[in-house]
Symmetry: C2
Subunit: 229 residues, 2 copies
């Protein structure tokens, strides 16, 4: 408040953009809305970020850098403790998805707002943001993928990859569902105050994910290889 304005300005733009992109999507949000909401001048976005696309990328980078580092750290700790033995599926799932969901409880890290933005963005195939996410995620994904392969040697790799996709989807909806999908299903979910909500959502989702990950293998109707190596 007493300090430089420009640091504040940058941060306020990012906060407003995160909120608005979450609510209306990238295309559905204008720079005028963003700067208006942030209480800064229209030209400030282009001055600080160069373009709307770069702003979007920075909105993600600000949160994903921390998240992916944390995921790496957690995995490293678990693998060190396991001393060469494979991890349990529940450890891996918690390291990847639990870390993500616990972010939602931390307002300094974007809280629910960022998580919902992430969830919706994963189904919005805008070329530039998809390419960006693919790059940001690659390293972490590869590490967790390997951990799962070692953890479930009897499950074909292709099956694990698919189930990871499915887990991403369930998690994405778990986040959005806390208020968005409530309308789609039109079901009243018992009210739980917002702090409590997340504490219950995490174990709920974990049970579901682990049940799916360890489910009986599918039977294909034709005779082709189930495990394509």
């Amino acid at each position: 408040m007493v300090e430089v304005r420009s640091v504040d300005t940058r941060e306020r733009i990012l906060d407003a953009a995160e909120r608005l992109f979450m609510a209306h999507g990238y295309e559905g949000t204008s720079m005028r809305q963003i700067t208006g909401d942030a209480g800064v001048n229209l030209a400030a976005v282009n001055y600080h970020f160069g373009s709307k696309e770069s702003l979007m990328q920075e909105v993600f980078r600000r949160r994903l850098d921390w998240l992916n580092e944390e995921r790496m750290r957690v995995l490293n700790v678990m693998e060190a403790e396991a001393a060469g033995k494979p991890l349990k599926p529940s450890q891996i799932v918690d390291g990847f998805f639990g870390t993500l969901l616990r972010m939602a409880g931390d307002e300094r890290r974007g809280g629910m707002t960022f998580l919902r933005l992430l969830g919706r963005t994963l189904t919005e195939p805008s070329e530039f943001i998809r390419a960006f996410l693919a790059h940001e995620y690659k390293e972490v994904m590869d590490r967790y993928k390997e951990a799962l392969f070692r953890s479930l040697p009897e499950v074909p790799k292709a099956e694990i990859v698919w189930r990871f996709h499915f887990m991403l989807g369930a998690t994405s909806y778990a986040i959005a569902g806390t208020d968005a999908l409530r309308l789609v299903t039109d079901w009243q979910i018992e009210d739980e105050d917002s702090v409590d909500r997340l504490d219950r959502l995490v174990p709920r989702l974990m049970s579901f994910l682990l049940g799916g990950l360890r489910a009986q293998l599918p039977q294909f109707s034709d005779s082709a290889a189930v495990d394509s190596k």
Copy 2:
């Protein structure tokens, strides 16, 4: 080709809109793109549908009417055959999600294009389309919800509702993932020709969904009621 043009025009607009909304989202698609792609005049959309919003609704209605009727029909048949006994979870899941996925194999019903549009729209909380979907889905949802309650009497209702949410998410990503999420995860999924792809996806997803639906119940860390009755 020899007949009236206007029927063709309407249908061609719907086809182009479905394709473009899927690829670029509602906000990201302009009427110029739609009419250009459809090979019709710019003014035709407003003549036939009144507005862009109404066009979007019609894109959904064209497919959802059939889908939801089919889901109802399948459920009615199964319940008649069960003669009062609860259905098996696998029957219910197949009736709801299997019917949806099998739509993807039927090009006359929109095929993969419509399914991916549906998947992405469920995470895009545009007010007008969400309200529309909530209305379109309500009746079917209630019927399937009841069937699941009866099928799994030992599972708290709140838990079933949540797991239904998670199943919707996994299914949504299963659809999109066939090419969109491939980039996000950057994993190469073994190539399977497109006809084969769906035949394998359905059993894969079904195994996962059933594993999640029937998973061990979560343990909450506090002592509050697990089944909030």
